[in-house]
């Protein structure tokens, strides 16, 4: 045991990184394993220290930073809208936990209490929610932003509305503040007159994006719904109307009924499904949309681990949003995923996360 522990007399990350580095050099797994055995023996004898440190210095740390239409992020993981984003304090906590950017809950023109409880219920593979766009209204939200320190926060404000005048007013009010971008929620699946209803009408989509773009120079992302006839068609309309990026996808209309009482569980009866169950749908949407538009696509839907993130990148996403996974894993998920992506990039010999965007399109 003593000898074994002696092998780990250097910081563990040195072994880890150099092992990954070697994996990239050797031709196959068996060769790698034999090599590793030799190295492990040498490590035990403390003969490799200088060489390992040399390897570590030679190895290039993969670059996780990305840029979306001028908005720079330290890593491609964003907090999805609707999760935790009630206050700046809670958004800051998510940022400090490792998110590259944070998106607020959707803010509207007037305060909205949202739906009665139950607003959330777990199902196999995810969660159903019908919170109902609860938000304190743009003026109260603006006042809270004024009182908060947000300069260093990669803060994206999510907006919803039913008319372009509402979007116009909200954007012009917020634009004086140091928020970094907007995300237009044209896709909430369970509120009449907002979100999805607006988001499946190409004319409304165009009017809203154009009016927001007139009020701001900041990047404007548009969050799209899978609950439409053809997501690619709406994506193209959004691109042509001036959207700087597309967030794909919002939750999917779904329902859960209690068999004892015969009742739909959600007070609103129908809600939006999130979580691993919707990931294949989201990957398909990202794939289809990113093939047809030039603006960046931000993947969202059911991401639970780093493998999921990689899948979204290969499908064509340039960043991803994480939400429901926090219910399963807590905020530590951001650091876990970052580490997973980093190791993956080293093994695959990629210098930057940008190098794997859309690679699945080649096949």
């Amino acid at each position: 045991m003593g000898i074994f522990l002696g092998a780990f007399s250097y910081p563990l990350h040195i072994y880890h990184s150099s092992a990954l580095f070697l994996m990239n050099l050797v031709p196959n797994r068996i060769a790698y394993q034999s090599l590793f055995k030799i190295i492990f023996y040498l490590m035990r004898q403390n003969l490799l220290k200088d060489y390992l440190i040399y390897l570590e210095s030679q190895m290039q740390e993969p670059d996780l930073s990305i840029e979306i239409s001028g908005f720079k992020m330290g890593n491609p993981l964003m907090l999805a809208s609707g999760i935790l984003g009630t206050t700046i304090a809670s958004l800051r906590k998510v940022f400090e936990a490792g998110a590259g950017a944070v998106v607020t809950k959707s803010i509207g023109y007037e305060p909205r209490a949202g739906y009665e409880n139950p607003t959330l219920v777990e199902v196999h593979g995810g969660y159903l929610n019908a919170i109902g766009l609860s938000n304190p209204g743009i003026r109260e939200f603006y006042n809270e932003l004024l009182e908060s320190k947000i300069d260093d926060l990669p803060l994206i404000v999510s907006l919803f509305g039913s008319k372009k005048s509402e979007f116009r007013y909200m954007t012009s009010l917020l634009d004086k503040l140091n928020i970094k971008a907007y995300e237009l929620n044209l896709s909430c699946p369970h509120v009449m007159g907002f979100g999805n209803e607006v988001g499946q009408d190409p004319k409304a989509v165009r009017r809203i994006i154009e009016s927001v773009k007139e009020e701001t120079k900041k990047p404007v992302f548009v969050k799209l719904s899978p609950n439409v006839k053809d997501i690619v068609e709406i994506a193209k309309v959004a691109e042509n109307s001036g959207a700087d990026a597309l967030t794909v996808i919002n939750t999917i209309r779904a329902m859960s009924i209690d068999i004892e009482t015969f009742r739909p569980i959600l007070a609103n009866k129908i809600g939006g499904l999130s979580g691993p169950a919707i990931k294949p749908i989201a990957v398909r949407c990202v794939y289809e949309v990113s093939k047809e538009v030039k603006i960046p696509v931000i993947g969202c839907g059911g991401i639970m681990n780093w493998q999921d993130v990689i899948e979204f990148f290969l499908a064509g996403a340039r960043a991803v949003q994480i939400g429901t996974a926090i219910a399963y894993e807590g905020l530590s998920i951001f650091e876990k995923i970052k580490k997973g992506i980093r190791d993956y990039l080293i093994i695959k010999g990629k210098k930057s996360v940008r190098d794997i965007v859309g690679l699945s399109h080649d096949f």
Partner: protein, 273 residues
């Protein structure tokens, strides 16, 4: 292959027993394994089918049974209050952290249905044979609940009960916080546990700070998801449903700009106390 169990979905249970605690407060007893193993201070989301879903402290856990204690104040709590034996309710949870029982001299300050999460704590504390000073407050004598049970539990250990009412109809006339000060001056405590109206807890916290005594307070905020993702119940950087509901000295200090000053309504708008 079996699917993994879903935890965050209402489990339908039948009300087995209804106990009148006061004209406006009742306890409902039901059978549920998970809730019967809840820790003191934890809460459940209670679905009243067709009406709503509200957070409720688990006020009793014993032999596979659990209880909740509800005061009729709003639509959902009224409906819950009016549940009869054999009525069906949905429960999910237990959620949140719990009171941390210590061995030593403790003070418990409760008022109204704030006593609900303190009752299971009391059970555990008497087992640890700590000395307990229990201070119970209320507006008037009709509001008091659990008094006989409290006396019974406390008779097993070194303890003292102080009761205050604002109108003097029971115990000392005055606020519960007025009764605490002389006790704190006289005796050194290792922990204060409190649950009740937030302004009361705020005063208790201020006194705990002054006398430098650790404190655990159970907070209440608007709750929707119950699992720490929707953010409705946020106070500062914390979610009451997940990081709480029990806040310790350090956490209370971190939320001092909100605790006892304002809460958020269903829209997230700030409402002053």
């Amino acid at each position: 292959m079996a699917f993994p169990m879903i935890f965050n979905k209402p489990r339908i249970v039948k009300v087995l027993k209804v106990i009148d605690e006061s004209p406006t407060v009742r306890s409902l007893i039901f059978k549920d394994d998970l809730c019967s193993k809840a820790k003191p201070g934890q809460f459940i989301m209670v679905w009243i089918p067709g009406v709503g879903e509200i957070p409720m402290s688990v006020s009793m856990m014993k032999d596979g049974l659990a209880g909740l204690t509800v005061r009729k104040v709003g639509e959902a709590s009224n409906a819950l209050f009016n549940m009869k034996v054999n009525s069906m309710i949905g429960i999910r949870g237990p959620y949140g952290n719990s009171f941390n029982p210590i061995i030593g001299k403790v003070m418990i300050v409760g008022a109204g249905t704030g006593l609900a999460p303190l009752m299971p704590l009391l059970d555990i504390l008497t087992d640890k044979s700590a000395s307990i000073d229990m201070i119970v407050g209320g507006k008037t004598v009709e509001e008091f609940i659990f008094m006989n049970k409290i006396k019974e539990i406390l008779s097993k250990t070194e303890s003292k009960i102080v009761v205050t009412t604002e109108d003097g109809s029971y115990g000392i006339k005055g606020l519960v916080t007025d009764a605490i000060l002389p006790i704190l001056k006289e005796k050194r405590f290792d922990m204060i546990y409190t649950c009740g109206p937030e302004l009361m807890m705020k005063k208790v916290f201020d006194m705990a700070q002054e006398f430098n005594i650790p404190i655990q307070a159970s907070l209440e905020r608007v709750m929707k998801c119950g699992i720490g993702i929707c953010g409705s119940c946020c106070i500062g950087k914390y979610n009451v449903c997940k990081d709480g509901p029990v806040f310790d000295f350090q956490m209370l200090k971190e939320v001092k700009d909100e605790f006892g000053l304002f809460k958020r309504d269903h829209s997230g708008k700030r409402v002053m106390f």
